[in-house]
């Protein structure tokens, strides 16, 4: 390897548990009884349904369209009938339902007519971007940011380097590792397409040094045009800003994006999805999911989007009766799921069944500073915690709360077992809520002041001075009163009629 690698601050050497799944060939998960596709599987605006209940759809057919720039279409992941469009439980930090399209598969898995691009090398970058969007590609690494938006930034700005991120640094997860081992050709070809779309000068595919099999597979497919880099295994080396630091030595400024450092980063699975979209016109309809932890046969599954999580768990020998909690994502950054019926979506990389050991209770902070030593963003986690605990939202922002990547290193080393990241997430969401409230209040103030001003201007109208309206003729006033009386009577009669109709129901007026 010729590239000189750099180092990022902090981080942890964790026990990875990847040996459980990284050598087992992934299998295709069978068609589930029901496919539940949330309209929002990405960051941004939810898609808008294009199909109706009872309609027959084909695999890959667009069933919801993008609703805005930061939005992507959604496709049916198998052929069948739309049986419902409504709210179902989805993966969400607080127990929540979200609008989904539910499909009953017909078992034929019949593909929609697709329009591939044969010669991508001669295609305009903007057209590639359009294909990527039409095929519903979003960051498949975990955050789920629509890929066309990131690529568009690359089209508008000079891109020094494209980094394809195969550094799967969270313990237990091996879905990217398996994807590389099984589909390295797709990834390398997809990388070349993205590179063409963003016109990157250099191109790097990065993996961790504990993924030798994946490294060898990629090596077989790359040429001189792409550099293959193996970075030292240390959590969170796969974090966007951390990986940029390791490969280029550049630091992305606080609040900035990689593009500000001339870099575009995409996940390996995203690159494979781009290859499929361009050469076959195939949208994102399935993904690799690692099912591991306390199950009989941990392994990677190729799962159709919309498959309920419980189906994947059962396929790997999970007993639904057990009381063990299930983590969506990895142990460091994942979240506990409330319902096992939630569907696999574009960002679902891992289902991890926890052991049932009780967690040690949280004790007071002793200000040991262990968290500050390992923070990869060089924050002061103990200060962030102190402010979040006392709801001092301004204080936590002074300590750069929003630079926190929620990697969980601080909570792992905390000798008092304080769930630090949960405090940061709480504080971040409180600040966001506060901002929404503030902007709503600002709008109301503007409208209130505008109204006051208007009333002043047209004095004589409005509640400020209703008496000063020109005096009406007594006859006209009586007519008006009679008219209002009649209207009130009609309205009362309507209400009575309605109440009679819904007799037995609770009177909700």
């Amino acid at each position: 390897m010729n590239r000189e690698l750099h180092d990022f601050p902090g981080g942890l050497h964790l026990q990875t548990w990847k040996h459980l799944t990284d050598r087992i060939v992934s299998i295709q998960h069978p068609l589930p009884e029901r496919i539940i596709l949330p309209l929002q599987q990405h960051i941004g605006i939810p898609s808008r349904p294009l199909v109706g209940i009872g309609e027959r759809v084909l695999k890959g057919q667009t069933i919801a369209r993008a609703d805005g720039y930061v939005s992507i279409p959604l496709h049916a992941s198998t052929s069948g009938t739309v049986i419902n469009i409504g709210d179902y439980p989805v993966a969400h930090p607080v127990e929540r339902k979200a609008p989904c399209i539910v499909i009953e598969p017909d078992g034929r898995d019949e593909w929609f007519d697709m329009r591939p691009i044969r010669e991508y090398a001669s295609v305009d970058p903007l057209e590639l971007q359009a294909v990527i969007r039409e095929c519903g590609i979003t960051g498949l690494g975990g955050a789920g940011f629509p890929t066309h938006v990131k690529i568009n930034e690359g089209v508008d700005n000079a891109v020094e380097m494209l980094i394809i991120n195969g550094v799967e640094c969270e313990p237990w997860i091996t879905c990217d590792d398996r994807l590389i081992q099984e589909k390295a050709g797709y990834i390398v070809a997809g990388t070349r397409m993205i590179r063409r779309a963003v016109k990157a000068r250099q191109c790097v595919i990065a993996v961790e040094d504990d993924m030798p099999a994946a490294y060898r597979e990629l090596e077989k497919h790359i040429d001189d045009d792409i550099e293959l880099v193996s970075v030292p295994t240390r959590y969170p080396a796969g974090g966007e800003k951390q990986l940029i630091k390791v490969i280029t030595g550049k630091e992305v400024p606080s609040g900035g994006l990689p593009i500000h450092a001339g870099i575009v980063m995409q996940n390996v699975a995203t690159a494979a999805a781009v290859y499929r979209a361009v050469t076959r016109g195939e949208p994102v309809v399935s993904r690799y999911v690692t099912v591991t932890g306390n199950v009989q046969t941990p392994r990677n599954l190729q799962v159709l989007l919309g498959t309920p999580a419980i189906d994947c768990l059962k396929a790997c020998g999970f007993e639904p009766e057990s009381q063990q909690r299930i983590i969506l994502g990895g142990p460091m950054m994942g979240m506990h799921i409330q319902s096992q019926d939630i569907p696999v979506v574009k960002t679902t990389n891992c289902l991890l069944v926890e052991d049932d050991k009780p967690r040690p209770p949280a004790m007071p902070c002793i200000r040991c500073g262990a968290c500050a030593d390992i923070c990869p963003v060089k924050l002061q986690p103990q200060e962030l915690y102190r402010h979040a605990k006392t709801d001092d939202l301004t204080g936590s922002q002074h300590y750069h709360l929003f630079d926190c990547i929620e990697c969980g290193c601080c909570a792992t080393v905390c000798p008092s077992h304080i769930p630090l990241v949960r405090y940061y997430r709480y504080a971040k969401s409180r600040i966001a809520e506060e901002e929404r409230r503030r902007s709503g209040a600002d709008r109301s103030r503007t409208r209130f002041l505008a109204r006051q001003e208007r009333i002043q201007r047209q004095s004589g109208y409005g509640p400020a001075a209703p008496e000063s309206a020109p005096a009406e003729q007594p006859q006209a006033r009586d007519e008006k009163k009679a008219f209002i009386r009649e209207a009130v009577e009609r309205s009362r009669a309507r209400r009575r009629r309605r109440n009679d109709e819904s007799a037995g129901d609770k009177d909700n007026d």
């Binding site: 969400h92 930090p93 607080v94 929540r96 609008p99 209770p361 949280a362 004790m363 007071p364 902070c365 605990k389 008092s416 304080i418 769930p419 949960r422 405090y423 997430r425 709480y426 971040k428 969401s429 409180r430 809520e433 929404r436 409230r437 709503g440 209040a441 600002d442 709008r443 109301s444 103030r445 409208r447 209130f448 505008a450 109204r451 409005g462 509640p463 209703p466 209002i484 209207a487 009130v488 009609r490 309205s491 009362r492 309507r494 209400r495 309605r498 909700n508 007026d509």
Partner: protein, 185 residues
């Protein structure tokens, strides 16, 4: 001689600095928002009048003058009281129940079938969130409604009710972890 010159120079520089600061003071003060503005910025702008003032800004003026207490705003609730206390350097206190209770936000909904088009609610709405005209059905723009309830009383047919806004808003917050167990003495 040199010492005297040095002292004179330092004294001159000091005088210059003092003059500069005092000349700039009025401009700096003009740039700072007034106390009324600062209080007003913390109020929820529902314009509901539950504080016994005709709107958020009159209440802000009263608070800034010390005529009104900081615990008279039910829509703002505990959070607003805390922020006001911090701004004014006072002790926080519970909401005065004489002005109402803190409740989750609601929006007004007009039962359009019962509306007779009397425009009384339109005149009552402090933020112009109700649209309609005389003898025409009225409706509330839910995004603009502050939930002030001022339209309820004037309605002659009682067709306005307060409802919780639709759930697809992004309003959710991560749960705060339970308090850390205190150390035993």
């Amino acid at each position: 001689m040199e010492t005297l010159a040095a002292i004179a120079l330092l004294a001159f520089l000091l005088a210059l600095a003092v003059a500069g600061v005092s000349l700039a003071a009025p401009y700096r003060r003009a740039l700072e928002p007034s106390l009324i503005d600062q209080v007003d910025a913390l109020l929820p702008q529902t314009q509901c009048g539950k504080c016994d003032y005709s709107g958020c800004r009159p209440y802000a003026a009263a608070v800034a003058d010390g005529r009104a207490d900081i615990n008279q705003c039910p829509p703002g609730g505990e959070a607003t009281i805390r922020q006001l206390a911090r701004l004014l350097g006072r002790q926080g206190k519970p909401l005065n129940p004489a002005h109402g209770r803190e409740e989750p936000p609601t929006v007004a909904v007009i039962d359009e079938e019962l509306c007779i088009g009397c425009v009384k609610c339109i005149r009552a709405c402090p933020v112009d969130a109700i649209i309609g005209a005389a003898k025409m059905m009225h409706t509330v723009i839910p995004e603009q409604c502050t939930g002030c309830e001022l339209c309820i009383a004037p309605c002659p047919v009682d067709c306005i009710s307060m409802e919780t806004p639709e759930s697809d808003s992004p309003d959710w917050v991560w749960m705060k972890p339970e308090a850390v167990q205190p150390l035993r003495p």
